[in-house]
Amino acid sequence: MNNVFAVTGIVIKEMYRRKDFYVLLILTVLITGVMGSVTFFNDEKISRYLKEICLLLIWISSLVIAITTVARQMPSEKENRTIFPLLAKPITRGQVLFGKFLGCWLACGIALLCFYVFFGAITVSREHQFHFLSYFQAATLHWFMLAILIGMALLGSLIFAAPSSNATICFVAATAILLVGRHLNQVALTLRGGQQTFVYGVYYAIPHLEIFDVRDLIIHNWPGIAWPYYATAALYALIYGGLFVTAACLIFRRKALN
């Protein structure tokens, strides 16, 4: 694991030395801050809408940070040819990939922590109450969802040559899953024969990112979800993330680098 952690450290260092991360962070903080501090007619519902918009913004920012960070990892290693001195060391290709995955996931975790802490501080200053459990579960499940997305983008970075095409495909896929993933089985019910089998196949094959979207816990100040469900969702994310990383390792293992 030493080698994996060494690569992880480099990925995190790269992220906080790049300017784009800070731009997105400051932008999100500014918008969240402004939206969180305005009050319209002292209406509680409006406050909820604002919370919803702020959380949506955090979700979009996290998707952008995660996908753009991962999508450039392997292509930039090949393009800048830093992969050669790296693989000339006693490190396996699997360790490089796993280190990249872990680095991106932890770096995204740090970014999420910044977002949620800031959002939490703004909300507490307005509502004078803080439901730690709701925030904890919403933030950590969000982070687990990013594990799936990072695995998916890492696999894509070995298949698609250009980071931009990989990032676009991953962003479209993630948005599509988040928006229509949960409705696919209902769509399948309206179909017959091969079409139904195909839609059911897609429904069961895709990683259901929408199950990690528990923003409503924060928006409506609902009590936290039961721990067994939380643990199952976390396990689901780790299994899917692991599957994507394993597939990436299998592709990268025999790939000629020249």
């Binding site: 790269e14 050669f84 000339a88 680098l257």
Partner: protein, 248 residues
């Protein structure tokens, strides 16, 4: 003497991008061995298969057939690279890191103990004369300085075998002299150096043995003195003869 590096009947084929040609042979039936403590020059014109052979030795490319072993270990095994240092032809390092951070990262990959790591970093930075710039990001370095970072990372694990791909390419005369001095110093310490170069005068000065490759096949191999004596010409003339160069 023990063979540090051994290549047996190596063949490497690529998928060809040319129409009507499915594969292209980059290296064909290459057999050679490098003994402990030798400085071995790997020569050939561009496209002869030198870098492909080095890519096989470093595990970047898989051989189509044949085998390559370093310290008796198959090059596909990660452990084969534990006692190896590699300097690529051009400098490719993480530009957002400082030289010290880069060396610390590579030292971790070699599992050099923490106490030894820092002294080793200081020693290689001193050797390549980069102590003053060690805390600056690599992106601020000149080309010569980046090449010296490359040399420092290749030496971080105190390697028994050093693979250098055209180590002096793009360097000024002082830089070349410095690289030559380092190779000679490694030789005097009993380390094995395997390097490719187009600087034949330099090869003649520092190498014990050379091999000349042309169109993926080994044409000549032997000690520099023997080859020069046997062919009654210098290394450059021999090289041109072997690759079939005809002056216009």
């Amino acid at each position: 003497m023990n063979a540090v590096l051994r290549i047996d009947n190596l063949r490497v084929e690529y998928r060809s991008k040319e129409v009507g040609q499915r594969t292209k042979v980059a290296v064909n039936g290459l057999t050679l061995s490098v003994s402990c403590g030798e400085v071995f020059g790997f020569l050939g014109p561009n496209g002869a298969g030198k870098t492909t052979t080095m890519n096989v030795l470093l595990g970047f490319v898989n051989a189509t057939s044949g085998s390559a072993r370093i310290f008796g270990v198959d090059v596909r095994e990660t452990i084969a690279r534990q006692r190896l240092g590699y300097l690529p032809e051009l400098t490719y390092y993480y530009k957002f890191l400082t030289a010290e951070e880069l060396l610390r990262f590579y030292a971790k990959l070699f599992r050099i103990p923490r106490a030894e790591r820092e002294s080793r970093i200081d020693a290689v930075l001193k050797l390549v004369e980069l102590e003053a710039a060690s805390k600056r990001p690599i992106k601020t370095y000149s080309k010569g300085m980046q090449q010296r970072v490359g040399l420092a990372q290749a030496l971080i694990n105190n390697p028994d075998l050093l693979i250098l791909d055209e180590p002096t390419s793009g360097l000024d005369p002082i830089g070349r002299m410095k690289v030559r001095e380092i190779i000679q110093r490694l030789k005097s310490e009993g380390r094995t150096v395997f390097f490719s170069s187009h600087e034949l005068g330099e090869v003649e000065t520092v190498c014990d043995r050379v091999a000349i490759l042309n169109q993926g096949e080994l044409k000549v191999e032997g000690s520099v003195d023997d080859l020069v004596h046997q062919h009654q010409c210098n290394l450059e003339q021999l090289f041109l003869k072997v690759i079939g160069y005809r002056a216009v």
